[in-house]
């Protein structure tokens, strides 16, 4: 199947994006099997919605949006989000020239799992695929200002979780001003 007006096929999309989509799905879900299911479901949906891809240059963002929606559907079906009450997190304090230890990916995942999806998705996209603030805003369908606020709070949360013992770490970010 070749998209009209382009030389791109669904197989080429798979080739170009399956690995990064899997990693994105893994960071979102925290589960290897679920991540692979999400990646597969994303390409199946892409195949069905092939005609909706107007601009081949937007294929990556299109696939990421499909994957996130698929993930949100799963989450809503399971009702696993918002298991904990959400607390405010202050803007990140000045840290000066502190040394950041090498971040253990497993610990990072644990911290990500604690973040509400509204905070988790932007920060994954921010670090993971070098999405711009505009791209992230398009993905999560919120204003850029909201994206930046969520990123700042999520970074503060992760910084505390990864540098300091959980006992003194800040609570989960939740409330925000859009």
């Amino acid at each position: 199947m070749r998209r009209p007006g382009t030389t791109q096929t669904i197989a080429e999309l798979v080739e170009g994006h399956y690995a990064s989509l899997y990693r994105y799905a893994f960071r979102l879900s925290g589960n290897a099997q679920e991540a692979e299911d999400l990646a597969q479901e994303t390409f199946c949906q892409a195949q069905r919605k092939w005609s909706q891809l107007r601009d081949a240059q937007r294929a990556r963002a299109w696939l990421y949006a499909i994957l996130r929606n698929a993930y949100l559907h799963k989450v809503r079906d399971r009702k696993i989000e918002n298991a904990l009450p959400l607390d405010d997190v202050a803007e990140p304090p000045e840290r000066g020239a502190e040394r950041l230890p090498i971040v253990d990916p497993a610990r990072l995942q644990e911290a990500l799992d604690e973040l509400p999806e509204a905070f988790r998705t932007p920060i994954i996209l921010f670090y993971f695929e070098d999405f711009s603030y505009r791209d992230i805003a398009d993905q999560v369908e919120v204003p850029i200002g909201t994206v930046m606020s969520r990123l700042a709070r999520a970074k503060a949360f992760l910084r505390n979780r990864l540098i300091h013992p959980p006992a003194v770490a800040a609570g989960r970010p939740g409330k925000e001003e859009a």
């Binding site: 199947m1 669904i10 197989a11 798979v14 080739e15 399956y18 690995a19 899997y22 990693r23 893994f26 960071r27 290897a32 692979e36 990646a39 597969q40 390409f43 199946c44 195949q47 000045e94 840290r95 000066g96 020239a97 502190e98 040394r99 950041l100 090498i102 971040v103 253990d104 990916p105 990072l108 994954i124 921010f126 670090y127 993971f128 070098d130 999405f131 711009s132 603030y133 505009r134 930046m148 990123l151 970074k155 992760l158 910084r159 990864l162």
Partner: protein
């Protein structure tokens, strides 16, 4: 540039959403501001460490093949392109024909007027049908062709039938003569059906074995009004 603006621009600098002129101003500020320089280094180290950890996810072996297999299973078989194109053309043609058949037709005045170049003689009428429609017909020679008002080709039971209309203005008489070919219609025999509004006659002309005429007329006697001589 103050420090607050610099900290904000540092965020945009990471994603490349900063234009070169702003970048220059930011770099100048950071170069002259130890606090912002320390902040920038701290943020950069944190971002780099997090980005590195974020992407350290091993992709399962064989996953690409499994995706392609699943895509192949779920892909609906598609008709060959030319079959699809032909189907589209047929559908479009059918839709156009349906649209054409169901919309009101443009009024064409030509059939309801005597052709100006057709002489009002039986021979000229026969020549006209032969030339225009490729139809052999025999005009009823016992009719008064000076009264010929209109000629037309109509459909009766799916057959093309020449129709001649004679108008007798002085008696307000009108006669439609349908020239029926015996190759299209069985000769039913002489028939005369009077009614309150019009009369119908099925009749033949002498020496014209292959045709008969269905005449629907008003205004009194067919012979007296429309024919050269009484038959």
């Amino acid at each position: 540039m103050d420090c607050t603006s610099a900290r904000l621009l540092l965020k945009f600098a990471r994603t490349g959403e900063i234009d070169p002129s702003e970048r220059g101003i930011l770099d100048s500020h950071v170069a002259g501001c130890p606090d912002c320089a320390a902040h920038a280094r701290s943020e950069e180290r944190f971002d780099d460490a997090l980005a590195l950890a974020m992407t350290r996810v091993a992709v399962p072996a064989g996953m690409k093949g499994r995706i392609l297999e699943r895509l192949a299973r779920t892909r609906r078989p598609r008709p060959w392109p030319w079959v699809a194109a032909a189907a589209v053309l047929v559908a479009a043609g059918g839709a156009f024909a349906l649209w054409k058949a169901t919309r009101p037709a443009d009024l064409d005045f030509e059939p309801v007027q005597v052709k100006s170049d057709v002489k009002q003689t039986p021979e000229a009428v026969e020549a006209y049908f032969s030339k225009e429609f490729g139809i052999t017909m025999a005009a009823p020679r016992d009719f008064n062709f000076n009264l010929l008002d209109n000629i037309d080709l109509v459909q009766i039971q799916g057959r093309s039938v020449p129709k001649l209309t004679f108008l007798n203005r002085s008696h307000a008489g009108l006669a439609h003569v349908y020239v029926m070919s015996t190759s299209d219609f069985n000769w039913p025999g002489e028939i005369s059906i009077p009614s309150a509004t019009h009369d119908i006659q099925i009749r033949r002309s002498a020496n014209v074995p292959d045709f008969f005429y269905m005449v629907i007329y008003t205004g009194g006697s067919l012979e007296q009004q429309f024919m050269l001589q009484g038959i």
